[in-house]
Symmetry: C2
Subunit: 295 residues, 2 copies
């Protein structure tokens, strides 16, 4: 590598500093279509026409091709080495052309972030869906294994979303929804287990019930988990043991803690059997969330 290579956003900053996060409203506007431009041409059938217009269609396709090329390059050189010029080169277009579609490099990275969240969540949901609904522990394990497998298969994309946040001060709204899907998957299994047990509490938490300081957070998480379920399978929030949502948060944290530690090299020389270890962890967190083998 002879010449220099350019570095990311001038002032890349991560969350902390101010602990309570009342932050600015996202420097980078949205994800893909930069200028609103050809969103929905007024012609054709009226207001928001059914046909989307030739130009808008071409635009959307090119946005996709740029993102695909960028993802290819990301897989090779990582986020820090992702070069706008290299992407345009691989597409045979001028470097400046990409700025018709993404306002800057960070926006391109943000699009990849969104895609990565979606890809990971799709993989996890597909794996979970393939397990019989009654096999609660199997579904729980399937989510864990799918996340790890996806991370190993897409290490740079994983690092992009679960490593240090590189682009902007906060992720735009688009990413928070797909980012939550894996956690909601775990929460769904836990609530199913709770319902299958006929409302039995989690078994034998060694610690006290729920610290008073965490009651509000537990209710928040439970609300998020329940609101993502169809209404007919939604138990009343007051009935659910508040240890369940907290256990889900901890399981979610530990899942990504394990995968990140493995991928980022912190287990080197410490743990060799990473798959077996994650299974072990998942079995334990499942028990804490009330998900047992014979569900």
């Amino acid at each position: 590598m002879a010449g220099g290579v350019a570095a990311g956003a001038g002032a890349a900053s991560c969350e902390a500093g101010r602990v309570t996060d009342a932050d600015a409203p996202a420097d980078v506007p949205a994800v893909a279509p930069a200028r609103a431009g050809a969103g929905a041409p007024p012609g054709r059938t009226g207001a928001t026409g059914v046909a989307e217009g030739v130009r808008a269609r071409a635009r959307r396709e090119l946005v996709g091709r740029i993102a695909d090329a960028a993802r290819d390059q990301l897989a090779e050189v990582g986020a820090a080495g992702l070069s706008v010029r290299a992407v345009t080169r691989s597409l045979g277009m001028a470097p400046s052309a990409v700025y018709r579609y993404f306002p800057n490099r960070d926006a391109l990275l943000t699009a990849l972030i969104t895609d990565a969240y979606v890809g990971l969540a799709d993989a996890a949901e597909a794996a979970e869906r393939a397990v019989p609904r009654a096999d609660l522990l199997g579904r729980w394990l399937a989510v864990h294994r799918a996340v790890r497998a996806w991370a190993l298969a897409h290490p740079h994309e994983y690092a992009l979303i679960y490593g240090s946040p590189v682009p902007g001060y906060r992720a735009p709204e688009d990413t928070t929804v797909p980012a939550a899907r894996v956690a909601l998957l775990l929460a769904g299994v836990a609530v199913d287990a709770w319902a299958a047990d006929g409302g039995a509490a989690v078994p034998d938490g060694p610690g006290a019930p729920v610290p008073a300081a965490l009651l509000a957070d537990a209710r928040t998480v439970l609300g998020l988990a329940l609101s993502s379920r169809p209404a007919d399978t939604r138990p009343p929030a007051e009935a659910v043991d508040l240890r369940v949502p907290l256990a889900v948060v901890d399981a979610w944290t530990e899942l990504f803690g394990c995968v990140s530690f493995e991928l980022f090299g912190h287990y080197r020389g410490v743990l060799a059997e990473r798959a077996a270890h994650l299974d072990d962890v998942a079995t334990r967190t499942a028990a804490a969330a009330g998900v047992r083998a014979r569900g």
Copy 2:
């Protein structure tokens, strides 16, 4: 931010891809002193003289000043925005001068990585040392709180060591030793607790004892933990319940999983009471490792 900003290492890659890690021997040579040059001048008192030589001393000081300036800049703009030229500018020297001391930008970053590990471990050890030895749960909690506090106070340095690995293919040996100190601190408390209990096993693990696949890893971790203790406080390895080292690994993982999730924004909108949550997690992982309140 008008002009472009350069991006990090050409081929920044993280661990995975090959799952079993039999990897190349570190592209970046060592940490601070680039050319062996003025390591220990033959003059003075003979072999490795007591006086280190004026020139070597000046060199060591300048290396330190460069690292300090780089750390200052890191705290402002993050690792991706760290610019060698900006560092030299803040020191009033030519951009090329820094290459007398660091072979490239990655080596400078590696030095900051080592420093960050050391700073974090120092903070954790100091906090743990301030707690009475008999208060085992207090020591365990102190380590957790100190890690979180240090991370909140040095977010970019934390991201540098526990976010996506940016510089090279693997961290040089220098970083693995300080990186292990926090984990060894937890292990020390757990072994103390085990000894204080007179060799009682951990209480009520819901899962089976230890999966066969993890026996070897558990023994490895136990060996690392024991070999870091003074010989007179070192119990025989066969006597310790193998669930203890595994519980320590999981506690260590969950600690950094929580802190990373908080710092990297994944708890936004989910958990507000992060300190209370970490205390809760720590109390639970302590119990799993056999560390109880009345030690």
